[in-house]
Subunit: 321 residues, 2 copies
Amino acid sequence: MLAHWPVAGRSLLGRIGLTFLEKCWSAHTIGRTVKSFSLSEYLARVTRQVDAALDRYLPSEETPPATIHKSMRYSVFAGGKRLRPALCLAACEAVGGRVRDAIPLACAVECIHTYSLIHDDLPCMDDDDFRRGKPTNHKVFGEAIAVLAGDALLTLAFELAARDARYVRELAVAAGSRGLIAGQVQDLQNENRAVTLEEVKATHLNKTAALITASVRLGALAGNATAAQLRRLTRYGRDIGLAFQVVDDILDVTSTKEVMGKSVGADAKHHKSTYPKLLGVEGSRQYAQSLITDAHKQLEPFGARATPLRAIADFILNRTH
Amino acid sequence: MLAHWPVAGRSLLGRIGLTFLEKCWSAHTIGRTVKSFSLSEYLARVTRQVDAALDRYLPSEETPPATIHKSMRYSVFAGGKRLRPALCLAACEAVGGRVRDAIPLACAVECIHTYSLIHDDLPCMDDDDFRRGKPTNHKVFGEAIAVLAGDALLTLAFELAARDARYVRELAVAAGSRGLIAGQVQDLQNENRAVTLEEVKATHLNKTAALITASVRLGALAGNATAAQLRRLTRYGRDIGLAFQVVDDILDVTSTKEVMGKSVGADAKHHKSTYPKLLGVEGSRQYAQSLITDAHKQLEPFGARATPLRAIADFILNRTH
């Protein structure tokens, strides 16, 4: 019964959302001990671990030139959800690896994520003034330092991944001009023109799913996943990555700036083609649900060790900000 | 006698410069064969090899999204001197390595160099309209694509370096917030204020010498250098890297836009503290000469295999653009 929590939890959570999810408990088997599982506690623990590691890896605010390090730290510690690090550590756990082996990689993906937000927010890109409820990097440090802080975080990510050349390749392909950066270019080019569902999907696969999938795969690699495990986790990553962006599009229509901590309605402002525009809000929700259902299917052989990955998939579907 | 060419050549070249250098010949011993050495032919061969490799490594102009790949290729193939790749290959040769093992690393340092130029030229940074006689990347592709093309080249560099995690660390440290990026920040902060000679030197060590030193070290690592060889080549790299920037400052005062292919007088325009301002043009020339003398000293144990490295050191001192 407890083993079926993720499935039961998912449909329940589909109706009641994250506030309830945070109170949800499930069986989480680690070795021989059985303990209850709370996603909010799991994410809080990941945030503590990853933030402590990032604090060690990032040069201090006093390290010259102080401005660049203050700027890097401002955005890295701006209250991000640490979703990608959590996926990295949870994937490592799912294949029976030692979570501490995946910590540098979890930090690397968060650095890439943060760099991409800093550059996306620039006046020449999305021109956003707020992010996570705070002024964006260039509003505080100026455009030149914001460009350089993004560059420095991208560079630091590869330094952190340089435990193994395979990790570096994985990250570089996901973040490169046929992955994350391709998504950003497509996103810019999709403004003010009619775009097909296939084009929106291709954009989201690059813009969001590539780095989320890499986060999962890097954790799995750090945990010495088998080829079969890696295949399933890759599909899981793609599913939840796409679902994440579909939900993001929905929230841009249905949420408020206060809840989101950033401007909403930006897609409409930029005349972006989104899932809600192409499928309607309800159709988009159904599509996201079908992706999460497939994600759960991929996790079946992993048993209780994949409890955190299951809970994260549900969280992505039901998040309200 | 022939073994002393670099010393004789250096003082000679100090008086007559590159045009003569291109006609200069020296003994270049590879294994048992002795053949004449021409730096211009050496650089032309490096350019052919590296350009062919870059053409393979960079996604084609047709690869979607085409814009980003056109933009990356525009700047990579804008007629750069391929100095850093040449240093990388020459260092590999100096320690008796196989040059082909260093080719991906030579391409990686050129990608880092090109990304840094694209971002430096942005309106929010140095705001330059011309580079190597052509409009800068953002003048052709717009600021958003220029930012992303820089990001993509930085990312590609790490993909190319990911033959060995050591290479990636070397590159990341040189390019990071305590290397290349620190230099760029210091450069911005040195505008419109009085700066000491020590501060100018610290800026140049980061802005120019870090990546030049990394280019040399990566080639040496690819050629399986000993620790002692690596120490000497590191000092050589630092010497010529500093000299390169001193000569750059001199040329910004003494050359013309037609010769340089980019705006000159930019340092004065931005009220930058430079070597000529602090030491005078003649004092700066003497300083550059002393650095190149030390660079030659570091190369002594390498014998004829270091002929290209010696010629490059002289080229840096005597270049006219």
